[in-house]
Symmetry: C3
Subunit: 344 residues, 3 copies
């Protein structure tokens, strides 16, 4: 793919400075960019390396004023403009092949443009147009997948899972395995029924080797536009809203609710039946206790507390040594006062 | 499947109130339950929604006294009774198919009722009656699997692993990969031999994308009736007793012993050569140091301490701000006393 | 395989005491070792069980002086010698088979000695001599793998990944999935381009179900001789040096640099753009903040601090109860002094 600097500026609603006919065919980092490539800086404070860059075009903030040897495009949010231009210059090239060595039962309705090698689909499964099922994917019975979704190699989708359109599920991710619920009796553990569903709405991306368990009785749901990283655990009956971001290795326990527009760091652990309210930002490695309600704002630590409190508390802990010295000193002063008293 | 209220009450040894001939064919949650479905409440305190439920039968505690429009079954442990009834109404429907596109060497003895598509079995492998090996599973050489076990899609069982009967291993789980052991020499790391085995006893369930490494020289063992969640790491030579529960994303380092009837939360980390004694309950995200012995009781935090101590310590830390104020105030009072002294 | 005690002593440059013609065919632990097997003790302090061992040969430290009924080999580092001898007695037996049910495009150059069943290779892929691609592995386009590497079952290698020689990637590991980078706009998240590469140098071992993401624009790199455990997350553009060890379930965020010869414990979390300097040792469950520079030495806790400081601080926290009592006591003494004053 290739576009002119003029077209790219138009695409992102930016103001072009310089030649509008330079052909750009690739995005690159500021250091690596070469002839025919476009790069960006996020803030004017980072303008120094722009002068050394060999890029053929740069995306810069609106208040950028450095003189550059190449054309540059001024926009409000350079990183966002760069991401949008990357989509145009590096479009996903869809494939239109159905491999021979696949299992596709007659009861299933498969409109997918690509079915990779050694794929198995279950009964009564529906797969929408332009969706691609990569090599070695296993899809169970009564699964529904929308249009333009990508299911990467070796994913496993259990029975009764629904995945929307424009979703991307990376390799090795497991959707719809049994939730983890058992009831103890005198002999050991009896499994609580895990017969619910998973619903993944449109525009969801899930990283590699993650797990989304099915609902025990009801459903586990991941809302539209939510992005989930690698090795994340989503337990049974978890409800995740729209446009939530969850970083790698975080685990969400059963029935917890994450409302829309939350940002969850990596390696966070959440107990069951918690509720993360819209707009909450939870720092990496934080721990949310069961049933806890976390309001909008920035949270940190285990158990989670507002970031300010966490910092203050951390500072107190760090100054404990000094506090102990002070107490020791006060003790001496008091002893001195007492002695003076006696010698009065 | 369908059973009458009378039969179900009998099944769980409960006392039926109302019509014993109502046909029940499904379990459901209290809110979702409809005609022909059964639900439950755990405690009498939760009786309010029972009056609105559309369930055709409810399982309730023995001391439940609310009048209901539907038949209800009084039992000691309603959740347990519900789980047992779910097993009857939603039995696992075994399959009896051997796919054509599979690799089954002549040296192996395979009695399994189901071998899914694209499965590969190794040499000298034994698989018992009614066991199901799902699509894309890889099983190595000299593996032994008992009866009525389910190995979900894309699991990998390395050589020399033994899995008992009535086990369920969820998708993507890896059993028998090399343990992580290296010895440093002047050039880098030399691998310590990882030539031991894995033994998984009967009635064990392991979640999706978990890992159980083989013993370095001896064996890694998971005891009867133990239940392990998703994305759990069990290192080489770990010994886990019977009826242990381990939640998601927990990691157990090499040679650590978890005795029977322990409960381990999610994202717990255990150092090597620790011993968790029977009856210990370890809270989520806790950290157990290497060689630590953890006695029966509830433990929390990093490094783990008894829950009471953890709470007390946490309260102390939270009140540090006040303590600092107090010390400041004492300082003032002492200064005042000194001043008075001087002016005496 | 079988070697004489004399040959084994020579192999590890050790001093043999006793018969040099005893045939040894297997390594074993001190307790399990039987006739024809060799074992070791790490330190002279552990010499007690050597007298009961049924091993036919023992590897011991140089200053070992106990009289033994079997030949023993004195070396500087017995564990290292044992690991080297294990390699000789238990060599990996390479396989020379190409399965029929595989997808190998004509554009790829495959010299591998073993291609397992149901493997799929992409276009323009190169696989070196004696490398083994196990069952169900998916390899993308333009992938390059060196000689003598083992790619275990069901691994997924995305496009444009380079893996060196003598590497071992355990089952279910995903290399080259998209990094986790998004830019927020008014409607939700736009994906930042994830079009870089992954380079894995020679002699790298990666455990099961781990993830190594591709660079966003540049590359993610794992240096020569580095060893990575199970369920580890390596984000986009991470740079890991040579001979680094990373234990299970650790997560490294984007663009973080780990210099050569670091040791990272399990369940460690690192923020993005951090730098771990050569020789740093980071304890399990530690948390490294974004942009943090961690110098050589031993580090612990969240946020990481030098182990000594961590211990001191932990001791302070543990003694908070006493400190509070002391402050209370001082208050009483001051009140007493004031009262005396008034009664003066």
């Amino acid at each position: 793919m290739s576009e002119t600097t003029g077209k790219l500026a138009e695409l992102v609603g930016g103001k072009l400075n310089g030649d509008n006919k330079v052909e750009i065919h690739r995005v690159a980092s500021l250091e690596d960019a070469q002839d025919g490539e476009i790069s960006f800086i996020e803030k004017v404070e980072f303008d120094a390396p722009t002068k050394q860059s060999n890029a053929s075009c740069l995306i810069v903030p609106e208040n950028f004023e450095t003189q550059l040897p190449c054309p540059f495009i001024q926009v409000k949010n350079p990183k966002l403009a760069f991401a949008k231009i990357a989509k145009v210059l590096h479009p996903y090239i869809g494939r239109s092949v159905w491999h021979e060595m696949v299992i596709v039962p007659e009861s299933s309705e498969v409109r997918a443009s690509f079915i990779g090698a050694f794929v198995t689909l279950g009964e009564n499964t529906y797969i929408g147009e332009y969706t691609e099922i990569f090599d070695g994917v296993r899809i169970g019975n009564s699964v529904k997948i929308g249009k333009y979704s990508l299911i990467h190699p070796n994913c496993v989708i259990y029975d009764n899972v629904s995945i929307g359109s424009n979703c991307e599920i990376h390799a090795g991710t497991i959707i719809g395995a049994d939730g983890f619920g058992f009831v103890r009796d005198e002999n050991g553990y009896v499994k609580f029924p895990q017969i619910g569903m998973v619903v993944i709405e449109d525009d969801v991306e899930i990283g590699a080797n993650s797990c989304v368990d099915r609902g025990a009785l009801g459903e586990t749901r991941i809302g539209k536009g939510t992005k989930i990283d690698n090795l994340v655990q989503i337990a049974h009956n978890v409800q995740i809203g729209e446009r939530v971001v969850i970083a790698a290795q975080t685990g969400i326990s059963g029935s917890t609710i994450i409302e829309s527009d939350c940002i969850i760091g990596g390696q966070v652990g959440m107990g069951d039946h918690a509720r993360i309210q819209s707009g909450a930002i939870i720092g990496s490695q934080a721990g949310v206790l069961p049933n806890k309600i976390v309001r909008a704002g920035v949270w940190w630590g285990t158990p989670v507390q507002p970031l300010d409190e966490y910092k203050r508390q951390n500072a107190h802990v760090k100054s404990l040594s000094r506090l102990k010295e002070e107490v020791k000193d006060l003790k001496k002063q008091i002893d001195a006062l007492k002695n003076e008293k006696q010698t009065d």
